[in-house]
Symmetry: C2
């Protein structure tokens, strides 16, 4: 029975795409709904999203962010206020044309993103410098009429947060863009144990209407990139389109500067594809809804279940979320199930352990067995920290083992042909060179600029030989 | 300037409806958006909703509820599966007819409620008794094409939670219905300090498709009723419509039993209309986002602001959310603003207080001033409890002062003409009698049955004189 469970999961290195959908299904994270292109987020998946929300929301609020909620609908004329924006989104929105039995005078779309709604509010709310800044965020659902669906990675409807801020000065807005980019960086590396390649997008990969886009790019176990969070600086373009101006201290009318930044349920896909293994999901302890699953051995022997429950209460009192699996399945089946679900720790406890005053803690990521006395339970805090760090280090080693670098075009072709991963090359700031590389390497697109590695005067674009402006990471993306 | 602030609020007893909208506007809780019928939930309002969510969600989870997220769209054929349900909702939903540039083959509505989506999932997921029960909830947004809008009370889009559960037996489902009704009762009375008249709805006021509806009815300061939470028992009607059956232990196919239960952002309206006064909002301490606002007196004198900040840190360390108003406005203006926002406590602290090693705490609900030494700050916990209880008691007195009871029709007419509030009367179980009373009293509709007050064999329906089945509360409703 235990074997059967694992047999439902395709080995990861045999077929990564199948492995992914198998893990999502067997861990009951989400499910295709009968509403085409939309997902049902089931308890196991949604609980991860709740933990992501709680963690990230606290980080936002520590920087002064306030949460709001703006409408789910956007009238067509409002979506059309900023030219690049409507061009980017109109082909992929769902249109409401009837309310009850009446045809609407103007059709409205379900928001694909809410820049236009925020600007619409601000043009009413902003009068003077005293009204600024606005540092707002909302946790909500958005809809984009995608043709294909992959659990967490691509679906018509997805859950996310979208932060929107408005400032009196260019500098303050730019600083906020970078500040939120750093919040994402810290969250992804610290809480999700996901190492990143991060930085500015090139001019051709920015968000529709943005002046700068900062991105956190994670490397999945198949070497592909998952854009895990982005932070956009709009300058004054967007607010100017909406006529948002403020009176400064000298009573002069002045432009406002805007940012927006978001992270979505895609990040659950990143957790799965960075940390998962052949046995299923592996959740970093900091984000796991249940940290410890106690599996009693010889459960029906006197005192075993009592001791298991006593131990569970102790874990929970310490704030370490713990459950006991007291169903009538075999321990082997329960082990397999706990492993599929990615619960970071399993406790094995049977009559002999109880006699010895101890229990066995098993780490999900490396199967390490740790024997602990009942009065040593607080040691688990250190073990949690250790596991979180080890998971990051392991993923970081994988990332660095698959980071390549070259200034020679033929070598670039060789690298992209023979390896999975990202490759960094010097590039001029020309869309044509990016497009050519993408086409010529079978899909390696520009992920972001390496801000720390500056080009020299003599550095040449790997494609065209003209002077390079930046070192840029390329990778195949989800 | 301080006077001006309050002058923006119509006195409560002069015009209750104007007072309500003034408070919502001046406390910046929410705002009419340019999307007709939809609201912008601003930071001050949304923060209250976040606290409601956190509190209630914990109560749900303590009873074993798991959170999920199901799609925002419902195909028309799915909405139509249960006859009474589609009849109730079809006239008031928003229809999506286009995706991108393509006309849809089947139109879909934005969910007005999600019973049909849950049943659609369950008909796929339920096979045997081992799969049951499902005890699920989601926090989301719903849309109903209303004609009129009143902040928090009525709008096309509103935020809520909708719990949906599926059980193997009638008894278990009925028990869950009542359990969640009690969770709401406890939450509303304990956390929002709102006293209730609560019980079963009569047969004519139930939710579309339900067999029983339990309701929590709160009395607003104008004597009108606000339905603040409902819990529905569907029996097996809904699941049967969807063909959801399970194999029991004896391998017989068996019906499932369903419940649903919800509480929405209307509850914010209830807080305002139960507790608010001429100076603005009054928030019960347990639900207030900011519990204490420190307003320094003679702020620019040396040491005042430092001491204010030191005190703020102490409050926050104790988990009592506290802010300092260090803007360049006058203390009088700041007092008025803190009062409008309904922040439960104000701290006044100036040079003389600091010299005496003390500060003054002012209760928002009754203006009581309490002088505390700096090392007595923990006394605030008791003061919070006291204020929460006093607010409940005050509202409870108001409720009981406006609860009437009669078995004589002429007296009922007199009571409803001369008083605001609810009136309890014996009633037969006939829709016509309910309708007649509503028409004849200018709008007193049946709110709920008093389950503790049983009719005698000789008790007669106040309207028709036939034997009464129940004592029923009537009131004008929002």
């Amino acid at each position: 029975m235990a074997k059967n469970l694992v047999q439902n999961i395709t080995p990861r290195d045999k077929n990564f795409a199948d492995w992914y959908t198998d893990v999502v299904r067997e861990a009951k994270l989400c499910d295709y709904s009968n509403v085409k292109g939309c997902l049902n987020y089931l308890p196991n998946g949604y609980a991860i999203w709740e933990n992501i929300k709680n963690d990230l929301d606290k980080r936002f609020k520590d920087t002064g962010v306030e949460n709001v909620y703006l409408p789910v609908l956007i009238p067509e004329s409002l979506l059309a206020t900023e030219a690049e924006h409507i061009e980017g989104f109109a082909p992929e929105v769902a249109w409401v044309t009837m309310g009850g039995n009446e045809e609407l005078e103007e059709r409205m779309c379900i928001r694909p993103t809410s820049e236009t709604l925020f600007c619409d509010y601000w043009r009413k709310a902003v009068r003077s410098y005293r009204d600024l800044p606005f540092v707002w965020n909302q946790w909500n659902t958005v809809l984009r009429w995608e043709k294909t669906t992959r659990p967490f990675l691509r679906s018509r409807e997805f859950l996310w947060q979208e932060g929107h801020t408005l400032h009196a000065t260019y500098e303050e807005a730019e600083e906020r863009t970078i500040q939120m980019f750093k919040v994402y960086y810290d969250f992804l590396t610290e809480s999700l144990a996901i190492p990143l390649v991060a930085g500015k997008k090139t001019d051709w990969e920015r968000f529709a209407g943005a002046q700068d886009t900062y991105t956190c790019e994670a490397m999945m176990h198949d070497g592909r990139a998952l854009q895990s969070a982005t932070s956009h600086f709009f300058g004054s373009g967007f607010p100017d389109s909406f006529g948002i101006k403020y009176l400064d201290k000298e009573n002069n009318l002045h432009s406002c500067y805007e940012t927006s930044w978001g992270l979505s349920t895609r990040s659950i896909g990143a957790i799965i594809m960075v940390h998962g293994d052949d046995k299923g999901l592996v959740l970093p302890p900091k984000i796991a809804p249940t940290k410890v699953m106690i599996i009693p051995i010889a459960m029906h022997k006197e005192g075993v279940l009592d001791k298991a429950n006593e131990l569970k209460d102790k874990f929970n009192e310490l704030g370490i979320k713990c459950k006991v699996d007291d169903t009538d399945k075999t321990p082997g089946y329960k082990f397999a199930q706990q492993e599929i679900l990615g619960i970071p720790f399993r406790v094995e406890i049977g009559p002999r352990d109880i006699e010895n005053g101890e229990f066995i803690l098993v780490r999900r990521d490396n199967d390490e067995k740790i024997t602990l006395k009942f009065d040593e339970i607080e040691k688990v805090f250190d073990i949690i920290e250790k596991m979180q760090k080890d998971m990051y280090d392991k993923a970081d080693k994988f990332l660095h083992d698959h980071l390549f670098e070259t200034e020679d075009y033929e070598e670039l072709k060789k690298i992209t042909k023979e390896n999975i991963g990202f490759v960094k090359v010097p590039l001029c700031n020309d869309e044509e060179c990016e497009d050519y590389i993408k086409y010529d390497t079978g899909g390696f697109s520009s992920r972001c600029i390496d801000s720390e590695h500056k080009v020299k005067k003599t550095t040449k674009c790997i494609r065209c030989g003209r002077p390079a402006t930046d070192y840029v990471y390329f990778g195949k993306s989800y």
